[in-house]
């Protein structure tokens, strides 16, 4: 049976958000294709993984457990994924477009000589007619991704090679566990048999990973700042307003690059995609890459000195003015008018 396989990224016993987002999407694709949803978990202590993934509708969970498999290194994980794909022959294989997924997926694609599309923001199932050879391909994976600096959206297909491989950006698909689910089947993989000592040629000698502190994806209100905010000090105003409104602070890439705030707050193509009920864009010009990450917000307010800033075209309200002047007034009038 040619199923759909998702590589689950695991950090200290927790399945990564992006993998759960992928499982949610993959479940609906598997439903359309009338096939099963498979997941593979590779790591050191994986006892807690089944309970985390089965609520997402996983039919078969492959488990490769070995102390040498955590933290992630390329070749051992690639060897297991390659072997599993050769054995089970899934029609589609999906990875998160993360530090790990973008390191692993190309290695796998090259070994299997399969097509791989990076950083997809949408996945769909569809047909394709190839005129040149008069052939109709049924139920292909449409891998949709921004390209050319975000100015175009390309739909990529792999008509001939299997599996069809893609990495998917974190934060663009919605994560939704099932209300009612059945535990799937667990299949242990023969790790010792599948790996050789020569797979461990890269040794990790030191590692500092920070825990994620903020999750702007879940915030109902986002006060986001761009380069136009001007300084780290002015950014404090955004934190004040966000706290007052019960929201979070977001940022454009330019603001992050300028050091006004951290990367984990970045909204847009190289950050996260958000859909809050209110997005207040402060001093953000609205490059296409930023707009792609926030245009689905229910309401958008732009505060910008430039009346022609592109962001204003998608804003419901535009305040032409300086962020340092406007935000204190918003804070004052909110305090005055809210009960």
């Amino acid at each position: 049976m040619n199923n759909l396989l998702v590589y689950c990224e695991i950090d200290e016993g927790q399945v990564a958000e992006v993998s759960l987002e992928l499982l949610t999407k993959a479940r609906s694709l598997a439903h359309q294709l009338n096939c099963q949803l498979e997941a593979v978990a590779i790591g050191a202590s994986l006892d807690g993984i089944p309970d985390q993934v089965f609520p997402y509708g996983v039919d078969i969970l492959y488990v490769a457990e070995d102390p040498r498999l955590s933290p992630y290194t390329t070749i051992p994980h690639a060897s297991i994924v390659n072997r599993l794909i050769r054995q089970e022959q899934p029609q589609i294989g999906l990875f998160g477009a993360t530090s790990i997924g973008r390191d692993l997926a190309p290695r796998v694609a090259s070994a299997l000589r399969s097509g791989l599309t990076a950083d997809c923001t949408q996945l769909e199932i569809g047909d394709h007619y190839e005129k040149r050879i008069d052939t109709e391909y049924k139920n292909l994976l449409y891998q949709i991704r921004p390209a050319f600096g975000g100015n175009i959206l390309a739909t990529i297909i792999n008509p001939e090679t299997r599996p069809q491989l893609a990495t998917v950006r974190e934060g663009v698909m919605k994560k939704e566990p099932l209300a009612d689910f059945r535990a799937g089947e667990i299949r242990k993989l023969p790790v010792v048999e599948w790996l050789s000592d020569t797979d461990f040629v890269v040794e990790i000698i030191d590692r500092h990973i920070e825990q994620r502190k903020v999750n702007i994806k879940a915030a109902p209100i986002i006060v986001a700042g761009g380069y136009g905010v001007g300084s780290k000090e002015n950014f404090q105003l955004l934190y004040d307003l966000a706290e007052l409104l019960g929201g979070e602070v977001g940022a454009s890439r330019a603001a992050v690059d300028a050091g006004f705030t951290d990367h984990e707050r970045q909204v847009g193509q190289t950050g996260v995609t958000v859909r809050p009920k209110l997005y207040i864009a402060c001093g953000i010009s609205g490059q296409i890459q930023h707009r792609a990450g926030m245009e689905e917000s229910s309401m958008i307010i732009s505060i910008n000195k430039d009346p022609n800033a592109p962001i204003n075209h998608i804003a419901d309200y535009t305040i032409i003015g300086d962020v340092g002047e406007v935000i204190p007034k918003m804070i004052r009038y909110y305090k005055k008018n809210s009960k």
């Binding site: 390191d103 190309p106 290695r107 990529i156 990973i209 707009r291 204003n312 305040i319």
Partner: protein
């Protein structure tokens, strides 16, 4: 260990970072012709790492390898101005239309001609595609390990290299055996500028195709100055299988390209006055957008 051969993979790309008004046509599509061709930024970070290794081991050789049309020789000269020893332009119409898999195959075949090598350095990704796939795929094709997102290349001893990697939420230091492919992240130091003496010397470095337009006897001229020859390698030169190149060797196909057009909304424009801002805040409270 004093004379390492370091191959740097680089690409000439359209500058997609600053797509200005003149780069957009009236219908909202990208006017690719209006975008300048530049040295892919992270490949310059990779070149700097190679140069730093050569600073430590001066007998090392830095070979710049790029695949592209004839004009891509520009980035080979640019690399020479900054310290690369020689360059190879992998160029052939049969490479056109290659996706990342076919490109990796072509590069790996060229690299096989450059054996023995110790390190292959490349930028993490190119700004025209942002896929970050070619580095790892080249490593797989050559059967060597990869270390991605390098920020710093540390100790090189006993056939092993220490590399500090920049991850999404932290850093990791690894030790890997050579030969090794390393992709370099933009948080690594920027590339040093051109060296004035090298600029004077290498501005005459050309491929044979570039020399064909001159009237001089360029073969004799270049034979006297072999350091000014930029090698051009074709599909046949690297003994690549044509079926694995170009469109036929590329499993991914572009089905559709859409221009991203944002629908303009009816935006209500307000002044930064007390009256306007109080009105807006009351409006937001009234319709329950804010509590």
């Amino acid at each position: 260990m004093n004379h390492l051969r370091i191959i740097v993979l680089a690409k000439q790309v359209p500058d997609t970072r600053n797509v200005g008004k003149d780069a957009m046509k009236a219908d909202g599509t990208v006017n690719r012709g209006a975008l300048p061709a530049i040295y892919n930024p992270e490949d310059l970070n990779a070149l700097e790492q190679a140069l730093r290794i050569k600073d430590r081991f001066p007998e090392s050789e830095i070979v710049l390898l790029t695949m592209g049309p004839g004009r891509a020789a520009e980035i080979i000269r640019e690399s020479m101005y900054r310290g690369a020893d020689r360059g190879i332009l992998l160029t052939d119409r049969k490479f056109a239309g290659s996706d990342t898999l076919a490109t990796s195959y072509a590069l790996s075949m060229a690299i096989r001609k450059l054996e023995p090598y110790s390190l292959i350095l490349a930028g993490r990704q190119a700004i025209d595609g942002d896929t970050a796939q070619v580095g790892p795929q080249v490593a797989e094709k050559l059967g060597i390990p990869q270390v991605t997102y390098a920020e710093e290349i540390g100790e090189i001893a006993d056939g092993k290299v220490t590399v500090k990697r920049r991850l999404e939420r932290g850093v990791e230091t690894v030790v890997a055996t050579m030969p090794l492919l390393v992709t370099v992240h933009n948080s690594a130091p920027p590339c040093r500028p051109r060296n004035a003496k090298r600029l004077m010397k290498y501005k005459y470095a050309h491929t044979v195709s570039e020399m064909q337009h001159s009237n001089e006897d360029y073969f004799a001229w270049q034979n006297d100055r072999p350091y000014l020859r930029i090698d051009e390698w074709s599909v046949d030169d690297v003994q690549a299988d044509e079926n694995m190149l170009g469109l036929s060797g590329s499993p991914t196909k572009v089905k559709k390209i859409e221009n991203v057009v944002f629908k303009a909304k009816e935006s209500k424009v307000l002044a930064p006055s007390d009256a306007d801002i109080e009105w807006l805040v009351r409006e937001l409270i009234h319709n329950s957008t804010i509590g």
